[in-house]
Subunit: 424 residues, 2 copies
Amino acid sequence: MKKINTTPLSGMQELLPSTQAIFDNIKNKIEQTYRLHGFQHIETPTIDRNEVLFAKAGGDTEKQIYRVIKTEESATDSTESLRFDHTVPLARYVVEHESELTFPFRVTQIGRNFRGERAQKGRFREFYQCDVDIIGRNELPLVYDAQVIATFYDALKSFLDTPVKVRLNNRKFVSGVLDALGVSDKSAEIYSIIDHAEKVPAEKTEAALRELNLPDDTVVKITTFINTHGDYDMIARLGYENTGLAELKQVSEELEKLGLKGAFEIDMKIVRGLDYYTGTVFETTLPEYPSLGSIGSGGRYDNLASNYTDQKFPGVGASIGLSRLFYVMQENGLIKADNTTAPIDVAIIPMSSDLRDAAYKLASKLRAEGKSTDVVLTDKKLGDMMKYASKVAKSGIVLGESEIESKTAKVKDFTTGEQTEIKL
Amino acid sequence: MKKINTTPLSGMQELLPSTQAIFDNIKNKIEQTYRLHGFQHIETPTIDRNEVLFAKAGGDTEKQIYRVIKTEESATDSTESLRFDHTVPLARYVVEHESELTFPFRVTQIGRNFRGERAQKGRFREFYQCDVDIIGRNELPLVYDAQVIATFYDALKSFLDTPVKVRLNNRKFVSGVLDALGVSDKSAEIYSIIDHAEKVPAEKTEAALRELNLPDDTVVKITTFINTHGDYDMIARLGYENTGLAELKQVSEELEKLGLKGAFEIDMKIVRGLDYYTGTVFETTLPEYPSLGSIGSGGRYDNLASNYTDQKFPGVGASIGLSRLFYVMQENGLIKADNTTAPIDVAIIPMSSDLRDAAYKLASKLRAEGKSTDVVLTDKKLGDMMKYASKVAKSGIVLGESEIESKTAKVKDFTTGEQTEIKL
């Protein structure tokens, strides 16, 4: 009988070993893709100073920060909190280690972050984020924006069997358009309307624009603008020329060179809520699963560490919220079937304690071949040991006297039921 | 100019990318060894309920627990804390998911734990622990103790180039000896004296025993006992027979079968401070680096989850404190030379923007071969780009018009200076 409540706290991911193996496999593929694209892995501490963490946070995020205190301290003594994303610790890291880093700094962070959100299905209070960033010192050529997008796309494709779409935009382009339309004094409100346009009916978007007391033809122009998406030529035909358009052109061309033709689209609905982004912005979606919304996003920022230093570190980055994505993948049947087998490769069952020696030797051999191998050592009946083996392993080998004599044993594949032979 | 203090908090591990790559490599080898030995990976939440975490903690550990609070909460509202080890969340996990797990449950956890220790060189407040455990339901044959020790030994050997010694003992044997000597009423004090015997001169140990008002010949017997170490026969010759001795015999025999002959020794100085352990106990040391002390340890426990359930889950486990171990390895020159190169394999430098296309294609090819590849896209002079490449990558490839025409390029190894050719 249980003496206390042993369920994990709400908003925490806790998986059974077979599901954990699938999660780990996806995380490894992302890590591996980032690494292959030349990103260097770093880890920043989970706990950081409040002055670091609260410098950038604001609004809801600030309220969601978990502060940490030692048992004998009171809450007002608290000077430390849990990181809520990877960007803030990265900014501190770059400023702290600037003289020892090589720029442009291609960097990846994969780890757990924390936000005290209200518990809700599919919302996590502790969650994995898989970030890639390229940070320049003083400058960073625009072509790196395409590098981050292509890396991010490859990472998603490494574990998703369904098409992935990159929706691209540029905040300089949008603000240039609002300038040209003479409505830049209302840009904050208009950004917010654009950001929500996808989630509400078209009439609502139009009504929201009208509430800003804009001239009729301006409302029509903005509405047309919001609904435009396609390749660069489509966007150019809108007739607005500015720095942002030139950037969209170059990033588009570069993405085509990187093999992403057909995988991305410029889309005026993508502006990203955060003021943080200053140029390129993008979100990724799964066209065959439109209800999932954005499964990862990123963009260009002029200044990574403006709160910590006067030096300028422009950068471009992206992040996959893996705990949430994994959750929605499970809910939507997006987990590949070949990933769902038992976590261990082989279980060896010695029929008596005299045969352990032979079992250990065979296990060493299999491990040297890279196969994860369990030796079953319970004093149970053969049937029970086979049942155990079939639960933990993909295949099983029974070792008895006759196997030792003949120097061959049968390997039973628990999925197919097939038997093959192995030399001892 | 810096605006705020950007150093990481004391007691936190924060590494430069090239050092992080070495750390990751070691962590991967441990993970891989555990996996090959049939251990299933799980992750438990970093944050857990106080009633779970404080149920087992006591003394110093309890004072070191980091409690977490949300911004709007007061400290007295705090019902959640950061885990301080992997054993407590594992106990909760096993009780919670018992009906869905297969026993004996070979399980590994590798992650960060937290203790608010006083800041001190080589002491970490956030630290990696790499745990292996085998948990039985109601029973777990003794032979599994040897499984954990052999796995643990292999994991340490996977990244250490120096001999590793396992020092083995059994708490039942020690308590049986104290019974036989008629001093079991003072066993707590004697355990503590044994536990410290290594760190103080022999006279101090003897004086401490004398302070317990034991008869002279008993003091001599205990002193002899404490100083005994060697193979099973050596221990058996002491003349004490009890369950613990029989267990030491079986575990020793099993370790020899598992190929550890010569790598372990039974040593009466090993009793482990924790009451938690009930049978087999062991520590691992590096004989060529005696000053480092124990680099990982473990043992058998009768009951993993007695605070959470009436059901019995006996187990055996071990843990490497990787952050501390990595720190002492650095301090003692134990990091293998072949690990200390640049984090990325190849950097490709296109000589002009027209050649990016070719650079992207070559990068894709190299990545498909498993090589991490950076494409250098800064608008810098060739010399500066080469300097960048030599810092981030093991080798560099310059792509100019002539390379494209001849369809071959030179690969320069930055370590040796050697040049080889590659087909484009």
